[in-house]
Each structure stands twice: as structure tokens, then as C-alpha cells.
Symmetry: C2
Subunit: 250 residues, 2 copies
């Protein structure tokens, strides 16, 4: 494994890129931690949106580091595969959404890489994801990952296999825009039923007035496009995540 | 107005019963506050379940007082009207659920009584309600009450008038058991659409594995009865309320 030192944003927050593997594929993640805090601490995997690993996820990782966690941004697509436009993003996201086993392998590789970070308390690990990454952390849960919890932020919600809930061992928090047009009411109901029949410890929060991408400042503010930033829903969902972590990392 | 000094549970928490009126009807509420805190503070109206004002709501008021609020338990049914069994409770709750104007008058009378409490900062007021009281605080919001927010805990969710959302000025947080059998998916969808079309700032949290009465320890633990205590959902919804108050009482 090769690591490259990148810039640190805050005095205490350290960051670096981290190469790791899934099978023969090289992936390039990113880790952030606060070196002013001594000792092992919980680790949080961060899974990117359909555009691949960008500065957005890295900023979230730094925010998590400021909260005292080791945050590791997974790279699902592979080193150098960073879509330049929505067509490329759609092709990449579609590839993994239609091959959930590959998606699970990729996200679990990221989880392994997180666990290998020296400051991570491997007994206290969770995963969060945005958009495509929300779908991905739900797949991580369905893969039976032995982690404390997952949080989906405006993830694409569906239930490809209604029996998958039975494999979920961790707690699940889903933060969803009530006006998100990219998950149908039927798909959301199917997901709820999957969680219900699987006996999962799950929560779903719907934020009124929020559409897809509500945590993404670059998404603009035009709800009619189906994706837009919503400051209230962004802050509320981040607060909900913090409360969830406070519970699961006790 | 006559007041009677009742017992205080904690050294600093003071409580008393408070008589007040709605029209010609005498109502008997209950107020709790921390007298170790100086000066005006936000006020929270607490609306009772279908059994009427009981020790349960009074305990919640004391918990709110411990958080630094003045908490006032409304009495919707009237002084001395305290159902002894579910048949009586059903008759009382049914009376007000089928006469929403009367219900609004009663809950607004409680809001006025809260505002008259000397330590309340009348610019920072909210209402919470359980079960029947959840329905009631939604009606309080629909009545156009000039308050900061309402929180429903396992309230009966419906939308008798789909246009009512347009009258709502305050923020709305709905904490709901995902397996609560007393609100149909159709009624919940109708409520969501009412909020949506009214441009309301609303949030709905569904707690997996929770049925009706999930905050009520007396409800037992048999989900198959449709009403049962759920400690996780109780704690999570209380935390969500605290976060909501932190936002709206800024």
C-alpha cells in the first residue's frame, strides 16, 4: 500500500490519500483524522456520490475528523475513474447499481482499508453515504458487515431483494428528502418492508421541502430540478447523524 | 384563576395545578418549572393522551422543566373529566377528534394559559403531544397558532382538510412508530401532502419496530397489541425533540 501526504486544512486535522485494492483493482481513498486527539477512536467510512470521490466527500471526512472520528472516504469506482459529467457518472453508478455483488465487494474493501488505519477502534465503526453512496452503505449493511451502523443521506432507496434485510446486523438511519423524485413511494415502501421483515433496527427521517442532494451546496437551490441544496435539511440530517453516532458508539 | 400548590419532585422543580377556562368550561392544567433558573425561558405546552391528563404527562412536564423550560400540561377534556377505562377514553377522544374546531379552541386555551405563566418568554413557545395529544398539537398548528413549533409523538395522523396546511405558521416534527397500526399509510400520505402543499417546514421520523404509544412505559412490550413501549424509540424521539427545540428556540 502506498500513501501520499496531502494538505491538512486545520492545524490538528491531518489528511492523506490511501491506495488500496479490491481484487486486482486499485482504489484511491482518502483519510482524515485529528492528531491532537490521543488514542484509538471510532472510524467512519464515507461513500461518495455518483460523481465519484470528490472534494465534497473529503470535506465531510474533515468534518468527521473534527468531531473526533477517523474518517475514510472509499473509492468505489477505482483509481483515476472520476466522472467528468453526468453521463459518465450515470454510467459508473449504473454499473454498480446493477451489480450489487460488485458494489458490496468494493465497499467492503473500503471498510477493510478504514479498519487498517492505525487510530481506528475496529470495534466502533460506521458508514455514511451520499446519493449513490447512500445506496452503497445500505448494500454494505445488507452484506452483513459487522459494524455499528450506517447512515444514508439522500440515497437512492430500493429493495432489490426483499429478503436482504435478514442479513443486516447494524443499525440503519435513512435521511431522505420528502420531495426527492429519484426514489418512488413504492420503492421506499419496499425498503421499509425489507427492514421490517428483517427485524432491522431502522429509522427513516423525511425532511419536508427537501429534494435529492439536499446536503450538496453545489446542487443549487432550484427544487424543480429534483436535486438542490437545502440548508435546513443539511444541518438537521448532520445533527441526526451525530445523535446516531452518540448512541451507537457508546 | 385559582391555583393549588402540589408536590415538587426535585429540589429545584416546582409544580402546581392551574385552573383555566375555555368559554364556560373549567379546565385543570398543570405547570412545572425549575426555580433554580432565573428569568424568562421558553414555554412548552404538553397535550395528553386519550386517557386525559395523567401522571404520565406531568412527568414529561417535569422532564421539560429539568431541561430549562416552563412546561404546561393542557387539559382538553375539562376539570374532573379523567377517563377510567378505554371505553370512556375513546368516547372523549372521539368527541374532540370529530369536532376539530372545539379541539382547537381547547388547545388554544391551554396555549393562552401557558403564555400567562410568569416565567414564560412568550416569543418562544412550542407544543408537544402524545397519541391524542399528537393529533391535537397538529390541530393547534393548523389553527394558525403563532408559536415556534409542534412535536407529535405517536399522534393519530390524518388530514381532515387537505388545505389546512396553508394555515400552519410553525415548524412541525412528527415522531411516528413505523409499525403503528392506528394511522393508515393513506392517512400518513394525506398528511404529508397537506404539509407539502401548504409549504410547511415539516419533518417526519419513522422508528422501525415501534408501534403506537412507544413513549409510554405503561403500554407494556407486546407489539402485537398495536401499542407498546419501545425504549429506543422513546429515547430517540426525546433526543429529536431536544434537537428541534435547540433549533427553534435559538
Amino acid at each position: 500500500m502506498t500513501t501520499i501526504i496531502a494538505a491538512s486544512i486545520h492545524a490538528a486535522i491531518q489528511t492523506k490519500t490511501v491506495e488500496y485494492k479490491q481484487g486486482d483493482t486499485t482504489l484511491e481513498g482518502f483519510v482524515a483524522w485529528d492528531d491532537a486527539i490521543p488514542g484509538a477512536r471510532p472510524g467512519v467510512l464515507v461513500v461518495h456520490q455518483w460523481m465519484g470521490l470528490t472534494d465534497y466527500e473529503k470535506q465531510r471526512a474533515e468534518m468527521l475528523a473534527q468531531l473526533g472520528y477517523v474518517a475514510f472516504c472509499a473509492d468505489i469506482y477505482g483509481k483515476g475513474i472520476r466522472p467528468k459529467n453526468t453521463a459518465e457518472a450515470g454510467a459508473q453508478a449504473g454499473k454498480y447499481k446493477s451489480d450489487r455483488q460488485l458494489l458490496r465487494a468494493r465497499v467492503n474493501a473500503g471498510l477493510d482499508a478504514l479498519r487498517q488505519q492505525p487510530l481506528v477502534d475496529v470495534k466502533r465503526v460506521a458508514a455514511i453515504g451520499y446519493c449513490f453512496g447512500g445506496t452503497t452503505v445500505l448494500e454494505l449493511a445488507r452484506s452483513g458487515a459487522d459494524i455499528a451502523g450506517v447512515v444514508s443521506f439522500h440515497g437512492g432507496l430500493d429493495a432489490p431483494d426483499p429478503n436482504d434485510g435478514k442479513n443486516i446486523k447494524c443499525k440503519v438511519l435513512i435521511c431522505h428528502g420528502a420531495d426527492d423524485p429519484f426514489s418512488s413511494p413504492q420503492d421506499i415502501t419496499a425498503l421499509e418492508n425489507e427492514m421490517r421483515s428483517g427485524g432491522v433496527d431502522w429509522q427513516l427521517v423525511k425532511y419536508g421541502g427537501a429534494v435529492h442532494s439536499f446536503t450538496q451546496p453545489n446542487a443549487g437551490n432550484d427544487n424543480s430540478k429534483g436535486a438542490a441544496y437545502n440548508e435546513k435539511a443539511d444541518k438537521r440530517s448532520w445533527a441526526a447523524m451525530k445523535e446516531f453516532f452518540a448512541e451507537i458508539f457508546k
